[in-house]
């Protein structure tokens, strides 16, 4: 199954002669077609139809449903079967355009059809696609949305192929709704640039609402690579499960994906690692159940806590960066990575902001590149990286966003990072950060569209050299 589907709208106008009537009536169909695959002209594609069927004076059903068979070359047929209600009767419209190379326009636009009621004829007529008024909206309505057939487990599989100078990270952050405690599990494989043996290591950290941040490191141990996740001693990341221990911390969690993947960076950068690094979430949010124990007898029992796992693969850490994962509730998620590359030249640029707002099943901005580079730099999103407060603002299309993240020092953990080339960075992380997000929409003037305030439930970090 292809990763994308097809959606389009079509309006057809025509006439019908219902059985028992001596005159024809005008008919109008406004249809939305949704296919699970990309429509290819030489193949046969089936699509679901929904829409509105109107027969002047007799029927107006906005709940019409049906099926579309699109096969312009293989079967030379585009067949519509639509069931609708006419004065309490369920009628089926069955008709098809029969494509002919000799009459391409006529055969693509004329749809003769019959009406049936319980298999018996109930009328017939012809619909036409109004080329003059309908072609532009029809073409402009085409969308190729990604289908939901995504396996989050696939993105957990190790990417590192043994090459030196690479870093690969699996990290999970979550917040226990009962206690407000934040949890950070970080798993990392580092293949040093000098060719020495790759090693796996990581850490775990707890961010209680009212206590000091506790953390412990595990590893380093020689990296094995080539698994369906991460393994280092007793620490494991596998699809649906996280377990291990680091010092006094022991954890055993199940992970249940709850949303679509989030490509924080452009999709191609994850498939083809041409950027210094790429970041993505196999699922926009997950539920976690299990326990996290601290050696002194403290035990955190999680039952459906929300959080997310993320993946990073690249050449190392950025020169400066900031990251935010904000669970906005109701399945909505805001993910931000703002970073300055270490590469010569790129390191002179301001932070590139990759911002993905999943809201109501749609992602804004439409393309991941949009917030980072804008239109050749113009209109890109901006980031002001500082501590304890950092900000991201930007505008795309008719919306603009303002994000303010606060990482109070007492709820922030500073850790040293080591890149494959041996250089060091400091990361200040908080799994109990605050965030305030303003979303506005232009409608004559900028009007507030949504506002979220996260108190201690945002996951954020800022890194610097």
């Amino acid at each position: 199954m292809s990763a994308r589907g097809t959606e389009f709208r079509e309006t057809l106008l025509g006439r019908v002669r219902l059985d028992g009537e001596d005159r024809e009536r005008p008919v109008r169909l406004d249809l939305v077609a949704r296919a699970g695959t990309v429509v290819l002209p030489h193949r046969t594609t089936r699509a679901r139809l929904t829409g509105r069927v109107r027969i002047a004076g007799r029927a107006d059903d906005a709940e019409a449903v049906g099926e579309l068979e699109i096969s312009p070359l293989a079967r030379r047929r585009i067949r519509y079967r639509i069931t609708f209600t006419l004065e309490g009767r369920r009628l089926e419209l069955d008709g098809w355009k029969s494509l002919s190379p000799a009459r391409p326009v006529t055969s693509m636009t004329v749809l003769p059809y019959s009406l049936h009621e319980d298999g018996r004829p109930a009328g017939q007529g012809t619909l036409r696609f109004p080329l003059g008024t309908g072609l532009l909206p029809f073409v402009a309505s085409f969308r190729f949305p990604r289908t939901s057939a995504h396996d989050p487990g696939r993105d957990l599989a190790a990417r590192w192929d043994g090459r030196p100078g690479r870093t690969e990270v699996w990290y999970t952050t979550l917040t226990d709704p009962a206690t407000g405690t934040g949890v950070w599990l970080h798993h990392e494989v580092v293949a040093p640039t000098d060719g020495s043996a790759a090693y796996a290591h990581g850490w775990a950290a707890l961010f209680p609402q009212d206590g000091p941040v506790r953390h412990a490191r595990f590893g380093p141990v020689p990296a094995t690579g080539g698994t369906d996740g991460f393994t280092a001693g007793d620490v494991r990341v596998a699809p649906g499960a996280l377990s291990g221990s680091a010092g006094p911390l022991t954890w055993s969690l199940t992970e249940t994906p709850q949303g679509p993947p989030v490509r924080t960076f452009p999709r191609w950068s994850w498939r083809h690692p041409w950027l210094p690094a790429s970041h993505m979430l196999p699922a926009s949010r997950c539920r976690y159940t299990g326990t996290v124990r601290h050696g002194d007898g403290e035990e955190l029992r999680l039952d459906g806590a929300f959080g997310a796992s993320a993946r990073i693969y690249g050449h190392g850490n950025a020169a400066r960066w900031a990251w935010l994962h904000a669970d906005l509730g109701g399945g909505d998620v805001l993910e931000i990575v703002a970073a300055v590359s270490t590469r010569p030249g790129l390191d002179r640029l301001p932070p590139l902001v990759f911002l993905r707002l999943l809201r109501g099943g749609r992602t804004w901005p439409g393309r991941a590149e949009r917030s980072a580079v804008g239109w050749a730099g113009a209109g890109r999103f901006t980031a002001d990286l500082a501590l304890p407060r950092w900000r991201v603002t930007g505008r795309a299309g008719l919306r603009r966003i303002r994000v303010t993240v606060t990482q109070p020092e007492e709820r922030t953990l500073a850790l040293d990072y080591t890149d494959p080339d041996g250089s060091a960075a400091v990361c200040r992380n908080s799994e109990s950060a605050d965030a305030e997000i303003h979303l506005e929409r232009w409608w004559g003037r900028w009007r507030p569209e949504a506002h979220w305030r996260l108190a201690g439930t945002a996951h954020a970090e800022v890194g610097e050299r």
């Binding site: 069955d94 003769p112 059809y113």
Partner: protein, 618 residues
């Protein structure tokens, strides 16, 4: 028609019939001939007009005047001079066929008013003209053609509970409509190309096929032979036609449906009685034929639709049952091509038919099963038009039962009164592939061509009541081929063995007629037309080659034959077309070889077997 042919053809007709103004009926012949030509395909029409112009040019060259300007006597002398050329004679003979057809009708009309027969009520059919059929419809099975095979397939599938639509190119003609019209009027409407379907070869063959609801069964003679056992054995063992297994049961069913019985002697007619007496005197095996016409009233018009409804053509016997089981018939609907889904898993699959109406508009019927029963001449072309004609065997293997006629002149009237058109079979030579059948067609519709031109021809026409006619058909080798995609384009190269059989049949028929008491035998050979006794006939025929004969052909079969050999048979042993799913062949074309007898029962039983097996599999 340009002005020259407009005048040349009537003048030629007048010359042919020796019109000297003394005979009333001759005057109406040109008009009737024009009506007939208008119904013919353009090629045949052009050939006739071209020949008329050629004769006109000959007149101009010989006399300095055109045919119209010549006096009756001069015209007749000119034509006689032309007929003296042995090479021109066959052309004149071919021209004579439509003229005789028109003349026979005119003469009949002037002699007797068309009998107003009480119209019998036909069993009801669910027929819808294509103009009233929706542009888009669906069915469980579409049957292309409503002849012997199509009707039986439709009935079988409809009885199994499928929604069946039969698509028929011709019109629906009721018995009442037959009773109210002249034979020629019916002839032009009931035959494809107005009967002028020609198979090109030496000699060329006329292959008339029906085009109506009921197909050729509307215009056949009603003779119903079971497939001979040795033919069934050959189909099963040599060709691997699996559907031939158990065909005996299906033949029984077909016979029951058509109410087949031996023709009683009461309305047999003088023609049949003479054949019987001739055979008795020679000690030859002969008897009345088994026919599907219970209560036949001897109208002798089988070939233009039975005017009394006695003949159980499939539109009176099989299709009413099919319609009672839910089948519907679309008339005046020519299938342009089968719709084929080429991207189906497992290969192309038929998905319906594209049909054109007489006004040029189109309709489509979607169906997962298409039964092709367009006749042995139509099926290969239809499959080719549909892009399914890739099999090298498609259109080949055409058998046609080449046939000739011989007439005997008797001292006592033979025609007139009640008679069965095809009444008696003389089976003495059947084992040798020759079947003689006493056949008396309406005036001009016999495949026998009267000799002579001018007054002689007119006199011969006036004397047809004294003629008894026998026909002989031979079991042929599959020597023909259906070409092209449109129109009917046939090639037929008569095999030397079959040519020998035709010549032998001609002698045998002459002998039979003399034995029955004929004063003279008309051979139908242009340059050797008459023989007064057997010795004279033998002497005449010694000089006759098969190319001199006027050969008709009937019962085309085998052009999409079923068989086990993938390289030779376009259909598999169960009658499914190779190379596409969802296509059954259920007409004469599926028969692996010549059935050696009139094939209606064989085709019906094969169609029943093919559809039955398909149902059993699904």
């Amino acid at each position: 028609m340009n002005p020259r042919t407009d005048t040349a053809l009537p003048a030629l007709t007048a010359a042919f019939l020796g019109d000297d103004g003394t005979t009333d009926w001759v005057r109406g012949v040109p008009r009737r001939l024009r009506t007939l030509l208008d119904a013919m395909p353009r090629s045949a029409r052009t050939a006739v007009h071209g020949a008329a112009l050629a004769v006109d040019a000959y007149a101009l060259a010989r006399t300095g005047r055109r045919l119209t300007a010549l006096a009756p006597g001069e015209r007749e002398r000119l034509l006689a001079r032309l007929a003296a050329h042995r090479t021109a004679l066959p052309v004149l003979d071919a021209l004579k066929v439509p003229v005789l057809l028109a003349a026979g009708t005119e003469r009949m009309l002037h002699r007797e008013a068309p009998a107003a027969r009480p119209a019998a009520d036909d069993p009801p059919l669910d027929c819808t003209p294509s103009a009233a059929w929706p542009n888009r419809s669906t069915a469980d099975a579409v049957v292309v053609g409503s002849g012997a095979g199509g009707a039986m397939a439709a009935r079988t599938l409809a009885r199994a509970g499928l929604r069946v639509v039969v698509v028929e190119e011709g019109e629906h003609h009721t018995t009442a409509s037959f009773a109210g019209r002249t034979p020629l009027d019916r002839f032009t409407g009931l035959y494809r190309d107005a009967g002028a379907t020609i198979a090109y070869g030496a000699p060329p063959l006329v292959v008339p096929t029906g085009r109506a609801v009921g197909g050729t069964t509307v215009v056949n003679s009603g003779t119903c032979y079971r497939t001979p056992d040795h033919v069934l054995t050959r189909w099963r063992t040599i060709h691997g036609f699996a559907a031939a297994d158990g065909l005996t049961t299906h033949l029984d069913e077909a016979e029951r449906t058509l109410r087949v019985a031996r023709q009683p002697l009461d309305v047999l007619g003088e023609n049949g009685r003479l054949a019987l007496s001739g055979a008795r005197r020679l000690g030859w095996a002969a008897g009345p034929l088994r026919r599907n016409a219970p209560g036949c009233q001897g109208s002798c018009q089988c070939v233009v639709g039975c005017p009394t409804g006695a003949k159980q053509s499939v539109q009176l016997s099989v299709l009413p049952d099919a319609c009672a089981a839910g089948a519907r018939i679309v008339t005046a609907a020519r299938v342009r091509r089968l719709l084929v889904d080429r991207d189906r898993p497992g290969g192309p699959r038929a998905s319906g038919v594209l049909v054109s109406r007489p006004d040029g508009s189109e309709l489509e019927i979607l169906s997962p099963l298409v039964v092709v029963a367009a006749g042995a001449l139509g099926t290969p072309q239809l499959l080719r038009r549909s892009g399914l004609g890739g099999h090298p065997g498609l259109g080949r293997n055409l058998s046609v039962h080449p046939a000739i006629s011989v007439a005997g002149r008797f001292g006592t009237p033979v025609g007139g009164g009640q008679a069965v058109l095809q009444s008696v079979a003389v089976e003495e030579l059947h084992a040798d592939g020759i079947l003689i059948e006493a056949t008396a067609a309406p005036p001009g519709m016999s495949s026998f061509v009267l000799p002579g031109v001018g007054r002689a021809l007119r006199d011969a026409l006036e004397d047809t009541e004294h003629l008894a006619t026998l026909g002989a058909m031979v079991a042929d080798r599959p020597s023909g081929r259906v070409l092209g995609r449109h129109g009917t384009l046939l090639r037929y190269a008569l095999a030397p063995r079959d040519a020998g059989r035709l010549l032998r049949a001609q002698r045998a028929m002459g002998r039979l007629l003399f034995a029955a008491g004929a004063e003279e035998v008309l051979t139908g050979v242009p340059h050797a037309p008459r023989a007064g006794d057997m010795a004279q006939l033998e002497a005449l025929l010694a000089d006759v080659a098969v190319r001199h004969l006027h050969v008709s052909a009937f019962h085309p079969t085998g052009t999409a034959a079923a068989g086990a050999d993938e390289d030779r048979a376009p259909a598999d042993p169960e009658g499914r077309l190779r190379g596409a799913h969802g296509v059954l062949i259920a007409d004469g074309s599926v028969l692996p070889s010549c059935p050696e007898v009139n094939p209606q029962l064989s085709i019906m039983a094969a169609a029943l077997a093919v559809t039955d097996r398909w149902l059993a599999r699904t």
